[in-house]
Symmetry: C2
Subunit: 225 residues, 2 copies
Amino acid sequence: MITLHHLEYSQSFRILWLLEEIGQPYELKLYNRDPESNLAPAEYKALSPLGTAPVITDEKGLVLAESNAVIDYILDLYPDSPLRPKPDSATRADYLFWFHAGTGSMMPMQFMDGIFTVLQKRSPFFIRPIIGAALGQANSLLVQPRMKTILDRLEHDLAEHKWLAGEELTAADITMSYCMASAKQKGFIDESRPGCLRWIEQMEATPSYQSAMEKDGRETMVFSF
Amino acid sequence: MITLHHLEYSQSFRILWLLEEIGQPYELKLYNRDPESNLAPAEYKALSPLGTAPVITDEKGLVLAESNAVIDYILDLYPDSPLRPKPDSATRADYLFWFHAGTGSMMPMQFMDGIFTVLQKRSPFFIRPIIGAALGQANSLLVQPRMKTILDRLEHDLAEHKWLAGEELTAADITMSYCMASAKQKGFIDESRPGCLRWIEQMEATPSYQSAMEKDGRETMVFSF
C-alpha cells in the first residue's frame, strides 16, 4: 500500500489526482506549509530525499520523490491502466512529449517567473525599479517567449484532440495539471487560449479531480509566489 | 530509422550518447549555434516543437523533442535494453528517481544559475553591483542550498553503487550526463564530491561516450552561459 505525503499548495496534488483516478486503496497524509517561511515543514523535508513534494512511501521501505518518478512508479503497479499509453500505441509519442515537457520546459519557466516576482517584491524599495527593470528584461527576453511557444503548442494540440495525448485522459494531463493551473493563475492562460481554458474546464469536471480537491481541502492546488 | 538532430553544446548530447550505447544504426545531423545569439539556428527552431534541443525525426513523420521523452521513445524501440530497468527490477525506483530528478530538480537550478550569470554580465556597469547583490542573495538562498541537497544525495547514492541506479549504466546516467558535466564546469562539483567525480570519470571512460564525443566533435557537451 502506497502512502502519499501531500503538501498543501504543491506539485504533490498531481499524485493525489492520479491515485483518485486509479481508484485503488492508498493512504494519505496531509502536511501544511510552515506559516512563516511558506516552505514544507521540517518533518516533510526530512522525509523527502531532496526536501521536495511529492514523496511516497510504502511498508517495504520505499521512499520516492519527484512527480514524474512517482507517477511512473505508481503506474508500474497498474500495468493495464490507460493512463500510460503502451509503447506500440498511436498516442505514445504525444503522451511522452507532454508527460516530460511539463517538467522539462514549462515548469522551469514558471518557476523562474515566480522567483523573479519574489526577488522584486523583496528588494528594498529604493532599488526596486532597477531590479524590476533587469528582471523585466529577462522576463520579456526569456520567460514570455518560451511560455508563448509552449502555449501555442498546447493550443495546436488541443485543437486536434480532447486531452493532451488523444481522446482519453492520461498521466500527461495529470502531470500538466499543476503547470496549467499555475499558468492560469499567473495570467499566462486567458481568453486568448481557448484550448487551454477548455482543457482546464475538463480537468475540473473530472470526478477523480473533484475527489482529489475535496481530500486536499484547499481552494487551489497552486502555490502563490 | 531515427534521425537525431544534434545541436552543438546542448542537451541533445544525451541522445547521441544513448544511440551510441544502443549501437544500432541511426542518422545524425549536426547543427551549429548561431554565432551571434548563441541560440539554435532558425532551421533547428523550425523543426523542434518548442524550438529546443534535442529533437528526433523518422521517415514516418515522427517529430519528438524533450530529452526524456526522446529517451523513453528510443528505449521503446529496444525493449530488451538494460538501459531502462523493468518495472519489477530491484533498481527501478532508483532508476526512476534519477531519470526524472535531473530534469525536475537539478537542471532548473543550473538553468537559473546560468540566467543569473547572464543577467549580471549584461547589466550596465553602474548598476551591476546592485543587480549582483540581489541575484547573489537569490543564489545563496535558493540555488546553492538546493544544489547542495542534490549533490549530497548523489554522493550518498554513489557511495552505495557504481552508477546512479546500481552496478550497471542506465538511461538515468545518460540523462544526468549533461547535469553532471555542467555542474563540474560551474564549480558545483569539485574535490569535495568524490562520488560525483568518480562517476564523471566512469562516464568519460565509457566507449559509447567516447564515440559520441568523437561524433560531436566539440571539447565539451556543455553550453557556457
